[in-house]
């Protein structure tokens, strides 16, 4: 069973297009995240949702819009794609423990290439 799954795994598209990436977790976690990993492997959080509510929104262009239809799903829609959006996007989920610890479980990533 895949705990955190993302689709598609690869996405190649033209500049200016709009695309969506989907994420689902079957761990029963309350919190889900989107991260962006650049070509130098730097991993940076973009958004976090807890029980369908946005709780973290880093300084991400408003072309990026997350949507959480339920707590098991967090999708990422990107408008007017730019060359600099090319990266690997990871979805993750977590459940906070009694003392605040929080192991995040990551999906396999979506490799986005904007031409």
């Amino acid at each position: 069973d895949t705990a955190v799954s993302q689709t598609p795994k690869y996405l190649v598209t033209q500049m200016g297009n709009d695309k969506s990436i989907k994420c689902e977790q079957n761990l029963g976690h309350d919190t889900m995240y989107w991260y962006k990993q650049d070509s130098k492997k730097f991993l940076k959080i973009m958004f976090s949702y807890n029980n369908k509510e946005l709780i973290i929104n880093e300084t991400v262009p408003n072309r990026f819009s997350p949507k959480s239809p339920d707590k098991a799903h967090l999708n990422l829609h990107i408008n007017s794609l730019e060359l600099g959006d090319s990266a690997v996007y990871f979805c993750a989920s977590s459940q906070e423990g009694a003392t605040g610890e929080e192991t995040q479980y990551f999906g396999p990533g979506t490799r986005l290439l904007v031409l």
Partner: protein
């Protein structure tokens, strides 16, 4: 950008050797730390975690050491195997805030 021009630190070891990967974290208020392993083409995978009220924690073949005085975290891997080859990330969190901040990453290469 924060990492423009930077290359990832690398560590090359022989199979069977012990490996030590180091990490300097940024926030003295951070109270929870995690090490992740990322193999090529995959997402980061949890290895071990430690809370700030501890200075050492052991898992299977891995040990994490925390030195809060100098804001330093290390991951020790005993009897390193070729399957340990990956990029290793430390991450820190201030639990009251909830955001996990990842470090730069270290490339570990294990030669048979």
């Amino acid at each position: 950008g924060e990492n423009v021009g930077l290359h990832l630190p690398t560590l090359s070891v022989q199979e069977g050797d012990n490996s030590i990967i180091n990490c300097a974290y940024s926030n003295s208020a951070s109270d929870y730390f995690i090490w992740y392993k990322q193999e090529s083409g995959k997402g980061p995978q949890f290895i071990i975690d430690i809370r700030s009220n501890m200075d050492k924690r052991q898992g299977q073949r891995v040990t994490v050491l925390l030195n809060k005085t100098v804001k330093h975290l290390s991951l020790q891997i005993a009897a390193t195997q070729p399957g340990d080859s990956a990029v290793y990330f430390c991450a820190e969190k201030y639990t009251s805030y909830g955001k996990l901040t990842f470090g730069q990453g270290t490339i570990l290469t294990v030669h048979p």
